[in-house]
Symmetry: C2
Subunit: 311 residues, 2 copies
């Protein structure tokens, strides 16, 4: 596949949060920047396939942020504008960039968000349910018509407060994306491989465990795949890495119209590549100035850094 | 290369500890079993090349343990028998097998250990300096004559208490093996890639960072390589994994008589394979009943689990 800058293939529906983030890291500080899982995921997906977003923002949401998403070709027919303030997250990272410290989370308009799908979105062949209340994820699944591929994310908060709903979602998706701590929390298994296998028992055809700097692994009933972290000497802001990974993954799967084991492996590498760009700068800054050539080059580089010959 | 069970190629000299270990994990408990870095490393190396060991044991060291090492073909001309008790380590692991908890460490005969190399060991082309006092590692280097390849390990204790000596060793070796915490501790860099690059500045041609369940990465001036952890659903006892990794690595390099980038990559996979067997049972039990076919099969499996096609 060559990325010629044009998004072809099946449309990808992304449902999740759009946020105004304030973030401090050892490399700088930003306030009120474009963030949220749906922003990262839909922009990442847009490099591979047409992306559609269902989310909500408040009246304070800058037009410039809307323009950024639209300029990337993200279809915003599903972006609701509600009275009130946009969802806001504020946090910081110390030198250990693997650990986000939350200062405050203001759900604001997200508190009453109902993801209503525009008619034309209901046939979306590929769906990514980003990390939101699993009851809303189920509400989305009730509206889409026989999607070819559904992937979901979740987080510790829902695993703890809405475990049964999380399990209901897992029973209805093809691909479950989680980080290592979440997989362990959900299953009570410390061994990551055993934990991932347990998640398969809940229903999804594949479980992808995101391990930050250590890469990602995929477990399905027939296969196991390990992808390395892309070696970056400077991570400026890890916010959105996991959502970007998911967006790159599902965008690739939509574009190549193939979701067998070989396709999933390539999609995981695309997700890793996209995430490696996101963390190079704050907000979506790096993604928004990314070229198809850079994606292809980094994909090839991951192939080089994992290559070895027979014994 | 085919492993026909016969160790050919250059001899490997291993210098380090032989210990009597008492270990408890969620899967069982053993007392006074064969352990120590030199035991794990020389046995792992012996599957690939002739292994020679320089270490010390006390009068309490069971003949059966000596016989086990000898049966694997490990040359024990350098194993000193001192009056006193053998080095003993006692510890346990909770469900998180990545974290060893030490109950007690008794250096015993190790306290006065001087690694004197038998004449015939001084021409050893490949040398592995396991984790011992860096002053002793230097003492070994003063005795060997132009080895083709020297690898070393170290640990947090020496980095803290004998930092200058650790740096002296690093300036004289080809391959530095460390775990992720040690690389960060030694360099003060949190970013693992930046930390590994800093270690290169100290002198070695390659740095290999062991990351436990997350595999290992190698950084040299020209290359970067990422090896996954072999996916095990049950780890019974992680003791000796890092030393086994090192032994498999240097054993392979000795056998293939090639230590360029491609050879190093294959050697890292061999190290990972050997370590993945060690943790399947207590002490060296799994290693001592391992076959060449099992090694080859698992090597091939790591190739399968990392494989992906072009984008």
């Amino acid at each position: 596949m060559s990325l010629n800058g044009e998004a072809t293939g099946d449309p990808v529906l992304v449902v999740g949060s759009v946020a105004l983030d304030s973030v401090r890291t050892p490399f700088g500080e930003v306030a009120g920047v474009l963030g949220g899982a749906a922003s990262y995921a839909s922009v990442a997906a847009s490099f591979f396939a047409p992306a559609r977003m269902v989310a909500v923002v408040g009246m304070d949401f800058p037009e410039a942020h809307v323009a950024r998403l639209a300029d990337r070709g993200v279809d915003l027919a599903g972006l609701q504008h509600s009275s009130g303030r946009t969802f806001r997250w504020s946090g910081y990272y110390e030198y250990d960039m693997n650990q986000a410290h939350t200062i405050s989370t203001e759900p604001n308009v997200f508190e009453t968000f109902r993801p209503e799908l525009p008619q034309e979105y209901r046939n979306s062949p590929c769906v990514f349910l980003a990390n939101i209340d699993p009851a809303l994820q189920l509400y989305v699944l009730d509206q889409v018509r026989r999607p070819r591929l559904v992937a979901c994310d979740t987080m510790n908060y829902w695993i703890e407060s809405a475990r049964e709903k999380v399990l209901e979602v897992l029973a209805r998706v093809d691909v479950a994306l989680m980080n290592d701590a979440e997989v362990r929390q959900l299953t009570g298994e410390v061994n990551l491989i055993a934990a991932a296998r347990r998640v398969l028992d809940y229903g999804p055809g594949a479980v992808i465990v995101k391990k930050g700097e250590h890469g990602a692994v995929m477990l399905s009933r027939e296969s196991y795949f390990a992808a390395p972290g892309y070696p970056l000497e400077e991570v400026r802001d890890p916010t959105g890495a996991g959502d970007t990974f998911a967006g790159g993954l599902i965008g690739y799967l939509a574009r190549c119209e193939q979701s067998d084991d070989a396709g999933m492996r390539r999609a995981i590498i695309c997700g890793s590549v996209m995430a490696s760009f996101t963390v190079e700068d704050f907000s979506l800054n790096r993604l928004l100035r990314l070229s198809a050539e850079e994606i292809a080059e980094r994909y090839h580089e991951i192939s080089r850094i994992t290559h070895f010959e027979g014994m």
